[in-house]
Every structure is written in structure tokens, then in C-alpha cells.
Amino acid sequence: NIMPFPMFRPPHFQDMFQPFFDMISQAQQAMDGHPHRLPYEFPMAEFTADHDNRSVCKEIRHNSTGCLRMKDQCEKCQEILSVDCSASDPSQNQLRQELNSSLQLAEKFSKLYDDLLQSYQQKMLNTSFLLKQLNEQFNWVSQLANLTQREELYPLQVTTVASHSSDSSVPTGFTRVVLKLFDSYPIMVTVPEVSWDSPMFMETVAEKALQEYRQKHRV
């Protein structure tokens, strides 16, 4: 034992990676599973004609206020907007000007806020995408750790190797290998016959076995 302080021994494979699986899944659920609908439709953002019409229809159905958007198409309604009441109350003119300026300003800031919210939403989608990537890259490792209870194991253990000459169910020219990854269920892979001594042989077998394992455990 070359460790100076045995109590600080390095963590085990399963101790290290097992919790990650749950945590990454939880993070993904928190990001994707919120009941609020997304992406949010930004009312102040630039609309296409179709989209704009849809939102007006919704407003009309909801409380009729959408109809007031059509005031510009009626002469008498437009006249209301230009009624000048300042004769009897001079402060009204100024108040209307103030209202128009503050309204324009509020609309400008509301639009700016919408733009920022859209960028914020984009960051959220980016994070969601990264979590998905994290899950894809790492899920199989933490799931392997999840399966692994014993300690003294090879990451990969070959249990049987057979070719057509030893097992007639194996197609001619192929080798069938049964193996386990840590404590996984037995995985069977069939590879084109190569000399067992060749370094390529086990690399191909291990690659295929991992592919199968990852495929089965893809979330």
C-alpha cells in the first residue's frame, strides 16, 4: 500500500460515477419538464402577418379589445383621437403629449425586454442541449457504475469465444464472443474472423460491445 493515508484512498468506480446518473437526469428533468409552455410567444416581438392575425383573433375572442386595433379604419374613431379639449383645460394638451411620450417609451422598453427575454430563453435552450449532450456522453459510464457492485473486476471480461468450427450456429468466417462490461448482463457480439492474437480483434469486440451497451442505455 503506497498511499500515505489509507483513509483517503481514491474513490471506487461505482462510488464516483453512480450518483452522476441521477443528478444529470434530475437536471434534465428540471430543465425540460416544466409545465409552462415553451418557447414563449413574445407579444412585442416582430410578428409575421399570420401570427399577428392569430393574436388579434385571440384578443377578440377573449375580451373584444382586439377590435380596438381596427380604430384606424373608421373615420369617426380616428376623430376621437384628435379631439382637442385644451380650450377648457389647457393642461390637457400637455398631458396628452406626456402620455404619448411615456407610452412610446414604455413600448420601446417592453420590446427591449422581450428581446432580452428571447436571448435568455436561448441560453436556456443551450443549457438544455448541453445537458442532453452530457447525458449522452456520460450516461453509459454512470449506468455501468450503477450496475457494478463488486470491486475486483476487469472492466471487460470475456467468458466465451466461438467460431463456426466449435459452434455450428456461428456463421462461417465469423467469431462470436460473449463478454461482460463490469457487472453488466452478458453481451454477445459477432465479428468477422480475425486472429485472436491480433490487437485488432479485441479492439473490434470491445468497440461493438460498448456500442451495444450505449445503444441500450441511451436515454
Partner: protein, 204 residues
Amino acid sequence: DQAVSDRELQEMSTEGSKYVNKEIKNALKEVKQIKTLIEHTNDERKSLLSSLEEAKKQKEDALTDTKETEMKLKASQGVCNESMMALWEECKPCLKQTCMKFYARVCRSGSGLVGRQLEEFLNQSSPFYLWTNGDRIDSLLENDRQQTHVLDAMEDRFKRVSSIMDELFQDRFFTREPLDTYFSSFGSSPRRSLYFSPKSRLAR
């Protein structure tokens, strides 16, 4: 017949284990890269959040000014009541007709109900609502409500995700550098020597 000896199986396991170790290392390296990207995105998000707070303050100030001015104008609405009401009576039928035409052409469903609802709305409305741009103000207030709701919902998600990711990234695995040194430490463990350097066991 057993065509492959136990020794050969052992050697194959050793060779295959090397490949698996290599793949685990690759996965962990990629995970570290993703971790860096997530942290970077999170920094950008935080800076965006302060811009949002600033914009929110500006928006709310402008909205408050708008509402206050609207109140002042409403208080003096009796001044031109007569001329305004006369115009309103002429405006209403045109507005109703234009709106219903639009609704029948674009929205298509439930025109009857919408017509009755609109009539009631127009009868209850005041021309001052138009005069003070009440529809634009209402639209702004509704947007404000929705924007707050959406930001709260997104913030809630980020908070939950951040807390999980903080816990995850505080793990010893993520705080130790470099990766290869970390893996070699597996080899130095008396209990774990087989995991990432299975040959050392054979040598012994």
C-alpha cells in the same frame, strides 16, 4: 470443446479492458469540456439577467409614468364629454362592422358569440379609452404580466438546474486536474488496481 484456454480468455479480457478504459477516459474528457461550456453559458446568463433587471426597471418607470398621466387625463374627462360621445356613437357601428368582417374572414369560428360580446363591450366602453390610448396601455400591462411570468418560470428552472449542476461539479472528480493523473490514482489503490490497469495484477 473449449477451443480457447482460460489464459487466452484472460488475455483477451485484458486487451478489451484497455479499450474500455480508453473510452471511459474519452467520455470523461468530453464531459469536462461540456462542463466548461455549461459554466460559460451560465456566466452569460447571469450577465443577461442583470441587463434584464435594468430593462425591467426602465420599463416599469415608463409604465408608471404612463399610468399616472392616464389617471390625470381621466380625471378631466368631463371637459369634452359631449363632442366625444357624439363621435363615439358614430364610431361604434363602424368598429363593430370592421371587426366582425375581419373576424369572419380571418378567425372563422364562433362569430355569433363574438358579435354579442363585442356589442356589450362597445356599449360599456368609453371614448376616453380610445382617446387616452387605453388599448395600448392595456396591451403593455398584459405584456408586462406575461413577461414576468415567463422570466419567473425560466428562473425557476435555472435555479433548480444550477443547484444540481453545482453539486455535480463540486464532486472530487470534477475538481481534480489533470484527468490522467486522476486515472493513475486508481492504479495506486490496493483495492482498485484492476480497474484501470489490469495488467499490474497479472504482473504481480
